[in-house]
């Protein structure tokens, strides 16, 4: 148990330890300090990204201005995939090292991941209407994104159905890892299925190469999405930490300090 108070006390303050911040007690103030940089970075990057997206990037030759939804669509789709992998990673770490914080991090990431998956689907549908003439096609990427959204829902539903946090953590971790093994299989199965059916002749891979400013805008927005995700996950993980550790001394001290107006101490 690397996260018990005993082993936390054993960690020397001078040397760097991999598990120093694996304890909620030590991670809580660190997360608090990281919050503001995340919010500021998210704000600045969003402003820069949106400015590039709307004023710098040229109008697309074939799609007109409707392509500009790409600046939210693609970062959302990227984030939904990255967050699932991050979730599975933290779950695996939690199962291997038996660290409670890893599971907390994983469950803090899940709602944001589901949100990004939903945004990616929603914006994709809105983008599809003017360009393909339909809100939905059973394209490989759309379908696998939809299934990814269901995987997030399953993870969250399983955690919500179990009252004992220890069991909820571990059961959720197991399904997240099994899902992560399955994600590539799902993607390729849907891809091959789609090429066989050939229902619509829409291909997103044959789009012309992007203008540099478009790419810049998209990358800025993607970085903004990263900063937002990290920030919001830290807020959520802090809430989970306080909720789960409410009977411990450090939370009690924190709440006393909090009544004096300093939550980051």
């Amino acid at each position: 148990m690397s996260d018990s108070p005993l082993s936390a006390a054993r960690v020397p303050s001078a040397g760097f330890s991999l598990f120093h911040y694996a304890s909620p007690q030590t991670f809580f103030p660190l997360a608090g300090k990281l919050l503001w940089p995340c919010w500021i970075a998210a704000l600045l990057l969003t402003v820069a990204g949106l400015y590039t997206a709307f004023f710098v990037a040229p109008t697309d030759a074939t799609q007109g201005d409707s392509y500009r939804i790409i600046f939210i669509h693609v970062p959302a789709a990227w984030m939904s995939m990255v967050i699932y992998m991050a979730m599975a990673f933290w779950c695996a770490v939690g199962l291997v090292f038996n660290t409670r914080l890893s599971f907390m991090m994983s469950s803090a990431l899940a709602p944001t991941g589901a949100l990004w998956a939903f945004i990616a689907l929603w914006t994709g549908a809105l983008w599809g209407k003017p360009t393909w003439g339909t809100y939905w096609v059973w394209d490989a990427r759309l379908t696998s994104e939809l299934i990814l959204f269901f995987l997030y829902c399953g993870y969250m539903a399983l955690q919500a159905a179990i009252d004992d946090p220890r069991r909820a953590d571990r059961a959720g971790a197991l399904i997240a890892i099994v899902g992560a093994i399955n994600v590539p299989i799902i993607y390729f199965s849907v891809k091959w299925w789609n090429t066989l059916h050939q229902g619509s002749s829409v291909s997103m891979t044959q789009s012309p190469t992007m203008a540099t400013t478009m790419l810049t805008g998209m990358l800025l927005m993607a970085l903004a999405a990263w900063a937002y995700t990290i920030g919001v996950a830290l807020v959520r993980v802090r809430a989970i930490m306080i909720e789960r550790e409410r009977h411990t001394d450090w939370v009690r001290q924190l709440s006393q300090a909090g009544s004096n107006g300093d939550m980051n101490a």
Partner: protein, 222 residues
């Protein structure tokens, strides 16, 4: 290890034999769901033969989902599961034996009865053979993945809907490869690739699912 495997399989088959109606429920469900589709989409033979493989596969998924959630239920109720967890034999082997028995009781009957439904859906003998082959390779994988879901949701409230949410996304590749085989055959492509992919899925599930299910059971009974 082999003896525990055999004895668990034999025990589960015997228990099922004593309560035959449980086994027949899943089969009846499979028959009923497939019979509903012609009523819903219309009885044109061409259309029916086009959707037959997909309908049979979806019905097989749902029938598995419906019955697999009771895989560990009675063992948990009468304390057998605790004995299995305490056993010196590897839990994964016991789980695998239970899944084997479960497949013999629910998966195999689906495969056996599939030609009858294929007849109702106006499939040619070749196509019927393909559907049966895909079901024969695919249903064990369904059972293995379902066992993971069953052990994760063991004893939870709302288990039925929850296991659907957990397991159905994982069933997607099987559905695609299974139902796609007939389409591929009609399109003049071979069915070997689809059967090989289903076999690959089975092997991966065979390697991963008993371990994952055993881990989930230990978590559930912690």
């Amino acid at each position: 290890m082999l003896s525990v495997f055999v004895s668990v399989v034999r025990r589960d088959l015997l228990l099922a034999w004593r309560r035959r109606s449980d086994v027949l429920t899943a089969l009846g469900f499979f028959l009923l769901v497939t019979s509903l589709f012609p009523l819903g989409v219309g009885p044109e033979p061409d259309q029916l033969s086009r959707i037959a493989a997909g309908v049979m596969w979806v019905a097989a998924l749902l029938a598995t989902l419906l019955s697999v959630q009771r895989l560990f239920e009675s063992d948990e109720a009468d304390g057998t599961l605790e004995q299995m967890l305490l056993s010196v034999e590897p839990l994964a082997v016991i789980v695998l034996a239970k899944v084997c028995a479960y497949w013999l009781l629910t998966g195999l009957p689906l495969v056996v009865i599939a030609p009858l439904i294929a007849l109702q859906f106006n499939l040619s003998p070749d196509e019927t053979l393909i559907v049966c082959a895909t079901l024969l390779i695919g249903t064990p994988t369904l059972s293995l993945l379902g066992a993971v879901g069953a052990s994760l949701t063991l004893g939870l409230r709302g288990g039925g809907a929850l296991i659907a949410l957990l397991v159905l996304p994982l069933y997607v590749p099987l559905l695609i490869f299974g139902a796609g085989a007939v389409d591929a055959w009609r399109a003049g492509l071979g069915v070997q690739s689809h059967l090989a992919l289903l076999g690959a899925c089975l092997l991966v599930a065979f390697a991963v699912c008993p371990l994952a299910s055993a881990a989930a059971l230990r978590i559930a009974q912690d």
